[in-house]
Amino acid sequence: MSNLAILPIIIPLLAGILLAFFPKKLRLVRLLAKLITILNLAVVTYIFSYVRQNGSLVLETGAWEAPFGIIIVADLLAVTLVLTTNIIAVAAAFYAPKSLSDQQEAFYFYAFFFLLISGVSGAFLTGDLFNLFVFFEVLLMASYALIVLGGGKAQLRESIKYLLLNLFSSMLFVTAISFVYSVVGTVNMAQIAERVKDVDQQGILTTVAVLLFFVFATKAAVFPLYYWLPNSYSVPNPVVSALFGALLTKVGIYSILRVFTLIFTHDQGMTHNLFLWLAGLTMIFGVIGALSTNNVKLIIAYNIIPAVGFMLMGIGIFTETALSGTVYYLVHDMVIKGALFLLIGALVYLAGTSDLRKMGGLIHHYPLLGWLFFLASLVLAGIPPFSGFIGKLLLLQGSLAEEEITIVIVALLSSLLILFSMIRIFIGAFWGEKDESFPVDKRAAKAFTGPIAGLLALSVILGVGAEWFYPAIQSIAEYLMAPELYIDSVLKE
C-alpha cells in the first residue's frame, strides 16, 4: 500500500514528459491534460481517504531503510495540501486554453505545468531535507519556464530577477543543509528531529534554524523578503500567475510549518517570537502595497503577502488552535488565490487593460463575473460565513489565548484594508455607466466562468461546511504539536 504515496509525484511527472513529445497537436494535448489532472485528482482523493482512515503512508524508496534512503511521507497534512494542489490544477487545465494563445500553449505549456505540479506535490510529500531542496528545484525550474512563456519584454526582465533571487536562496538552502549535516549527521527530517534534542550547543541550532527560515521566507514572501513577488507574479499569463499565487508561496509556508514544528522547537522564545514580529510587518506592508497601485494584477499579487503574514502568525503563536488556523488558512488561501488570479485574468482579458482607472461599467455586460468577484472579495477578506473567516477566527482565538493583543489588532486592521483594496477593484471595474460601444465577448466570459465558479464554490463550501472539515484540520494540528508521531511513523520504533 505504501507505494501509493509516490503516485501524486509520478503521474504528473510522466504526464509532463509524455506531453513534451507532441506539443503542436493542441486538441489532443488539451484533452490529455484535462483527463490526466482529473485522474490525478481522483488518485489523490483516494490516498486522502486512505490516510484519513489508516494513518500516514511511509514509502522507503528503493527499499532503503528509513534513515539511509529517501523517504516519502504521506501524512494527513501533506496529503491535504496535495489534494488542494490538484484541485487548483484541474481548474487551471480547464482555464488555460482560453487564456493562453495557441502559440504559448504549443511552447510546452502543459509539459511545464505538469512538472510544476509534480515538484509541488513532491515538496509536500518528501521526508528528507535534501530531497526537499531537489523538489524545490524541480518546481522552480518549471516556474522559470512558465514565467517567461511568451517571451514579452517585461516577462524577460522580471524573470531574470525572479531567477536570480531563487538561485541565491537555493544556494543558501544547500549551505544550511550542509550545516545541519555537520551538526546532526543526517538529512532525514525525522532523524534530525530526534537528534537535535541531544545536541550540546543549542546556539548553532538556532543559527541554522534562522538560516533555513531565511530560505523559506524568501520563497514564501515574508517581510522583508517579499519585494520580488508583486512584479514577478503580475507579468506572466493569468493562468500561470494563478498557479504561482496559489501554490509556490504556500510551499514556502508549508516548509516553515514542517521544519519549525518538527525540528527546531528548542528555542521558541527566539524563533517563534521572530515569526510573530515578521508576521505583523508582512501584513502591514502587504496591504500598503495593495492600496498603492491602480494595476489590478498588482493589487491581487500584493494581496498574497498579508495572507502569508496570517499563516506565519499561527506558526509564531504555536498552540493547537493557532496551528489549526494556519492549516485551515493554507487550504483556504490556495483555493481563493487560484480563483482570484483567474478572475483578474478574465477581467483584464475582457476589459483589455489592467489599469483600474480605464475600466468601468463591466457589470452591465458581465453580471455573473461581477458578482463572482464580489463573492471572492468577501471570502478573501474573511466575512462570515466564508472560509477566510473560519481560518482567521481560529488564528485570532489562538492569539488571544496567548494574550498577543498587538498582532490581533494588526491582523484585524489588515483584513479590513484587504476588503477595501478588493472593493476598490469592484467599484472601479464593475460599477459605472454602461458603455454601449464596448465590445462584448460573451463566449470568452462563459469559458472563463466555469473554473472560477468551481473554485469559488469549493471556497464557500469550505466556509459554510466548516463543521465537516474542522475535525480533519484539528487532527492535523494535534499531530503537528506531537512531533513524536511523525518520528515514530518514519523510524518505526
Binding site: V148, L163, V174, S178
Partner: protein, 112 residues
C-alpha cells in the same frame, strides 16, 4: 584541512556576492556560479574530510569515507549547472529584448 576549505568557501561566497551586486548581467551570472561553487565546497567540508578510504560500509571495515556528501554535492552540481545555463540564455534574450544588460535600467513601470 577543514579550516582551509572553509576559508576557501568563504572567499568564494565573498567574491560571488561582490559580483552579484554589480550591474552588468554577465557579472551577476558569474557571481551566482561562484556562490554555488562555495556552497558545494561547503557540503563536502561539512561532511568531514577523510581521504584514502573507499565509501563502503561492510561489517569488519572500520575506516571508510562518508558517501552522503558526495551524493549531495553531485546532485547540487547538476542542478546549479542547469540553472546557470538557463540563466545565461535568459540574460542574453532579456538584454536583446530590452536593449540593455544593465540591471539598473531593467526596472520597468506599473502599467504594461
Amino acid at each position: 584541512m577543514e579550516i582551509i576549505m572553509s576559508i576557501v568557501a568563504g572567499l568564494l561566497f565573498t567574491t560571488g556576492v561582490y559580483n552579484l551586486l554589480q550591474k552588468q548581467l554577465l557579472r551577476i551570472a558569474i557571481g551566482t556560479a561562484l556562490i554555488s561553487h562555495g556552497a558545494h565546497l561547503f557540503i563536502l567540508t561539512m561532511g568531514g574530510l577523510k581521504g584514502g578510504a573507499p565509501p563502503i560500509l561492510v561489517e569488519g571495515i572500520e575506516h571508510y569515507t562518508d558517501p552522503l556528501p558526495q551524493a549531495l554535492i553531485l546532485t547540487s552540481i547538476v542542478i546549479s549547472f542547469g540553472v546557470t545555463s538557463f540563466l545565461l540564455v535568459l540574460a542574453y534574450r532579456a538584454s536583446e529584448a530590452n536593449g540593455t544588460d544593465n540591471i539598473e535600467q531593467l526596472r520597468g513601470n506599473d502599467y504594461e
